[in-house]
């Protein structure tokens, strides 16, 4: 994402730490973020085989409180918030009134009448305006805590082993999508067993003012700092859609296989969600030439869709891509992707491309 309008880029509480670590910084959704430190491939491999960490402090946090907090969230999301117990986190969607998604989010239930919502960095203002507009007669309150939180995603198979010596909490007892308050390196945190890499890990919520001290402590126990480049290749291998690529205001979210995010209930935009999607999200594998977002996809000589995300897969050693194609062509096995005017064979590959053993 470029910064064409020249508004000053926002900085996370870890900005100085990134510069100290020699990160290459790039504009991302209005933020000045590290795209890589030592190198994308090394960072990717560290997360798949050991433990790495990402600064995700740019993501937004909204607190929703009040007697109608659950009722309000049930109305503006597609998943069943009533099933969410305190101490648990849930992946969820904010559907648009006229189709598509406003955002894909995580909701953490704090108490019967209190939730924390984590939203994509580039959507903070849009989500806030949308939620405020929908609040209406609900007896609930929204507060934007985005500036108050630092968020560090510790990811990789060795995450638990690396963190355990530095907290009294029993990390082995923490289930996927659970979270709890703890002390880590003597700092008050929330530890959530969540992530976006296809690996085990913990997302560390820490006060913004302590985030840099936490980051340095985590560096000290050998966690490999990883940038947005590795974050993107890791999530692509894991088949996770990314807002702005596989999801948007105009893409039908059920084009993806994430149909479980929509539950039987009344909610905003229900009619659009209920309509059958005309396109489907598929995985493609190529032999050599990497394909990128926007490249045309063909089946049987006909244009049938577009690549939404593509890269060379560091784990698999060949290029992979996700593409939105016409539903009628989505079951074909052989496709072609046009790269600089020339079509290259691509075969359909089930998502995810990579699943941890």
């Amino acid at each position: 994402m470029d910064n064409a309008d020249q508004t000053p880029l926002k900085r996370t509480p870890l900005h100085a730490a990134h510069l100290r670590a020699g990160a290459r910084m790039v504009p991302f959704g209005g933020w000045d973020m590290p795209v890589q430190y030592a190198g994308l491939r090394a960072e990717h491999t560290a997360v798949r085989g050991g433990a790495g960490m990402f600064d995700v402090s740019h993501m937004g946090e909204f607190r929703v409180t009040g007697p109608d907090a659950e009722k309000f969230l049930q109305f503006v999301t597609t998943n069943d918030v009533s099933k969410l117990k305190p101490g648990r986190a849930q992946y969820n969607w904010l559907p648009g009134e006229s189709g598509g998604l406003i955002d894909d989010i995580y909701i953490y239930r704090v108490a019967a009448e209190e939730f924390l919502m984590v939203v994509n960095a580039s959507n903070i203002q849009k989500d806030w305006a949308h939620l405020q507009a929908q609040l209406g007669q609900h007896d609930a309150r929204l507060s934007d805590e985005s500036e108050q939180w630092g968020l560090i995603a510790v990811q990789g198979p060795l995450s638990e082993e690396k963190l355990q010596p530095h907290t009294a909490a029993d990390l082995s007892a923490a289930k996927k999508n659970s979270y709890f308050a703890a002390r880590l390196f003597g700092m008050d945190v929330w530890l959530a067993r969540t992530g976006y890499t296809g690996e085990d890990g913990f997302e560390v919520f820490v006060a913004a003012g302590e985030a840099e001290r936490m980051w340095d402590k985590l560096l000290g126990i050998g966690l490999v700092p990883a940038g947005l480049g590795a974050r993107d290749t890791l999530r692509l291998e894991a088949g996770f859609p990314l807002y702005g690529h596989e999801f948007s205001d105009s893409i039908h979210p059920l084009s993806s296989s994430y149909t479980w995010v929509v539950k039987e209930k009344t909610h905003l935009g229900r009619a659009h969600i209920s309509a059958a999607p005309e396109v489907r999200l598929i995985g493609l594998a190529l032999d050599k030439v990497p394909v990128r977002e926007g490249y045309p996809v063909f089946a049987g000589g006909q244009l049938v869709g577009t690549v939404t995300s593509g890269s060379s897969s560091p784990t698999l050693g060949h290029p992979i891509a996700m593409a939105l194609v016409n539903a009628g062509s989505a079951d074909a096995d052989e496709f072609e992707v046009e790269v600089r005017g020339k079509r290259h064979p691509a075969r359909r590959m089930g998502l995810p491309f990579y699943k941890r053993g």
Partner: protein, 120 residues
């Protein structure tokens, strides 16, 4: 940054040797990161200085390569087909891209000192 003094450099980060060999600079390969694919021109193709003539792709992005001189392509580095990482490990040696029979150099080529100053 490794910038050999016997080469000339384009602002777009290609180098040109006295014998017409072309590659990308150490600075450029470092900026790109791990190279995973290189698309090279056909031998015999006539090119004009500044023309897009090849593509070097890293994991993250695709970068156009511009001809630093006008002339005819006389050879391409076929080894890059199976080992594109040579562009990272030896941008001035095994990672060269193609050779040109140079008819006229581009008019904005820099010497090593000027190139380093421009990318300092």
């Amino acid at each position: 940054m490794n910038t050999p003094t016997d080469l000339k450099y384009a602002a777009s980060h290609e180098w040109l040797s006295p014998d017409g060999t072309v590659g990308i600079s150490d600075f450029a390969q470092d900026q790109l990161g791990d190279v995973v694919y290189v698309e090279l021109p056909e031998v015999g193709r006539e090119v004009k200085a500044g023309e897009t003539i090849a593509v070097v792709e890293s994991v993250k992005t695709a970068s156009d390569i511009y001809a630093p001189a006008s002339g005819t392509i006389t050879a391409v580095n076929d080894a890059l087909g199976n080992a594109p990482e040579l562009v990272n490990s030896g941008p001035y040696e095994d990672g060269w891209l193609f050779k040109l029979d140079v008819s006229e150099e581009g008019d904005d080529l820099m010497d090593a000192a000027a190139y380093e100053a421009a990318n300092g």
